[in-house]
């Protein structure tokens, strides 16, 4: 497919819709996806994956009242993950490095920090227990994608003998999708989003990663996915993320 065809198609969907589609593909075959607070794009991806699974995928959206099934309080997400009942989860990071370590605490010489992020939340635990953890951060710059994080909120890899059924599965940004190889302890560039090049990615990434000779373009969302997203998924999302649903899909939350 010539590059200009990709660009032409790109006009048919928004950046957020592409990201949602990329994330939804990573959820294929997962029984139960949990989505943390303040995560509209991962939330939409999970709801889309559920719709596409025809009921085989369950979704728990924290912060939602309608799509959050938990009734055992704040600890249930963590217990549920440790029981092996959550197949996929999303994490971000103020900094992410090439070993998939993530930093949600701050920059500087801990505890004397120059910049403070909110904190690690449950990352130190969920990253190690959920099989398919998808790192998602829209900003793809050398400020975020660093050689070595200032503070390891949650480690990307563990020594042999450490109980770790979970870990990083992929990294998705505004520019690209990387896979993570747990054996080699490194990312490899899997696809580059339409409108960007592998060279753009290299320029914006502060850590080393593997790369095939030719990096394919990220597959855009098929029309039937876009239709689902802009209809049913937008409505479902509006309950938890009214601002996002209105901005991206033009949908108002039900009263």
């Amino acid at each position: 497919m010539p590059a200009d065809a990709t660009v032409a198609k790109a006009a048919l969907w928004r950046r957020e819709e592409l990201l949602i589609a990329v994330l939804a593909r990573l959820l294929d075959g997962v029984d139960h996806v949990a989505v943390g607070a303040s995560s509209p794009i991962p939330g939409a991806a999970a709801l889309l994956a559920r719709a596409l699974s025809k009921g085989d995928t369950r979704v728990s959206v924290l912060g939602s009242r309608r799509h959050n099934p938990f009734t055992e309080g704040g600890r249930e997400l963590f217990d549920c993950a440790a029981q092996g009942r959550i197949g996929a989860f999303f994490l971000g990071g103020g900094e992410i490095d090439g070993q998939a370590n993530i930093n949600l605490v701050g920059m500087g010489d801990y505890p004397r920090l120059d910049v403070r992020f909110p904190g690690s939340f449950g990352s130190a635990y969920l990253y190690m227990l959920i099989p398919r953890v998808i790192l998602f951060r829209e900003e793809h710059t050398r400020r975020v994608m660093v050689p070595r994080v200032n503070f390891i909120s949650a480690p990307g890899t563990s020594d042999p003998g450490v109980h770790r059924p979970g870990g990083p599965y992929a990294l998705v940004t505004n520019l690209a999708k990387f896979d993570f190889d747990r054996e080699r302890r490194s990312f490899s560039l899997a696809t580059v989003h339409p409108g960007h090049s592998a060279a753009d990615v290299a320029e914006a990434t502060g850590f080393e990663y593997d790369q095939p000779a030719a990096v394919p373009a990220t597959e855009p969302p098929p029309p039937e996915w876009l239709e689902l997203l802009r209809g049913r998924i937008a409505d479902e999302l509006a309950e938890t993320y009214p601002k996002f649903a209105k901005a991206v899909f033009g949908v108002e939350a039900a009263a």
């Binding site: 704040g74 600890r75 909110p118 939340f121």
Partner: protein, 275 residues
């Protein structure tokens, strides 16, 4: 453990002494904002806060007003409104003793106190710099494993007070929290629980299973005060939503010292004795 006392809000806040160790609920769970406002006006001093497991405007206000000596949390954030500016500022300028944790560790350490245990094991965390900075946590080899299997042990956390808001208390001191079960664990784990409520429930919350299922028994509730809309500007479950416009204002004003003082003044939250 004697009968639950019904007192007014100012007295409830007054009974939390300076220096007390307080467990705070997360933003999605019955934040006792009216009680927090009373603590700001006093003003309370040297409070030690445990966020269960995170906090938002409640911790940020207390920190900004100088009520807090130390905080343990998995995160402090205003959520969709962005970072918690007074927390962030206090950490960076070194004026706040803070201890980083992670959500399940705080839940588990409270469950240890709930069960009267000295410690609770927890999976995960190994390799995190949180653990590297927690000399109070220990790593042992799982004694049930045949091969090497390191696992973290967390010492129990027993707060002096669990403080939270709820929809109802009945005359026996039973408090209805619906599905906000972290409040149950907080109440079990803390030495005392002080609760503000929207209203007194005219009847016995434990009489029928529908309400009993979401009720903290009065055994754990030391004192209750009425505070209608006592979670505002946060929301309360099925009853009212967070006041997003107010929270956005706060997020903006609290970025600077002057703005924060302006917010306090606007909302009549200034200390009675500013010294």
């Amino acid at each position: 453990m004697a009968a639950t006392q019904f007192i007014d809000l100012a007295e409830l806040a007054d009974r939390i002494p300076d220096g007390a160790f307080l467990a705070l609920p997360p933003d999605y769970s019955n934040v006792p904002m009216a009680m927090t406002h009373a603590l700001l006006r006093r003003p309370a001093r040297d409070m030690r806060l445990l966020c269960v497991p995170t906090s938002g405007i409640q911790a940020d206000l207390l920190i900004g007003a100088g009520c807090v000596a130390a905080i343990e949390c998995a995160a402090v954030s205003l959520g969709e409104q962005g970072p918690a500016p007074r927390f962030t500022n206090a950490v960076v300028n070194g004026s706040l003793k803070f201890v980083d944790s992670t959500c399940p560790a705080i839940h588990a350490a409270l469950q240890a106190s709930e069960k009267g245990l000295p410690f609770m094991p927890l999976r995960g965390i190994l390799g995190s710099d949180i653990l590297a900075n927690r000399p109070d946590w220990k790593v042992i080899d799982n004694p049930f494993a045949e091969e090497k299997d390191p696992i973290v042990l967390l010492p129990a956390i027993r707060p002096d007070f669990a403080v939270f808001h709820a929809r109802w208390a009945d005359r026996q001191g039973n408090v209805w929290i619906g599905r906000r079960r972290e409040l149950m664990t907080m109440a079990h784990a803390a030495r005392r629980s002080f609760v503000t409520v929207e209203a007194v429930f005219d009847g016995d919350l434990l009489a029928e299973d529908e309400l009993a299922a979401g009720t903290i028994p009065g055994i754990y509730v030391d004192a209750v005060a009425l505070a209608p809309r006592g979670a505002w500007p946060m929301g309360l479950a099925d009853l009212y939503a967070p006041d997003v416009a107010h929270l956005a204002d706060y997020a903006k004003l609290a970025r600077s010292d002057a703005g924060f003082r302006e917010y306090l003044a606007q909302n009549h939250l200034e200390p009675a004795h500013a010294g």
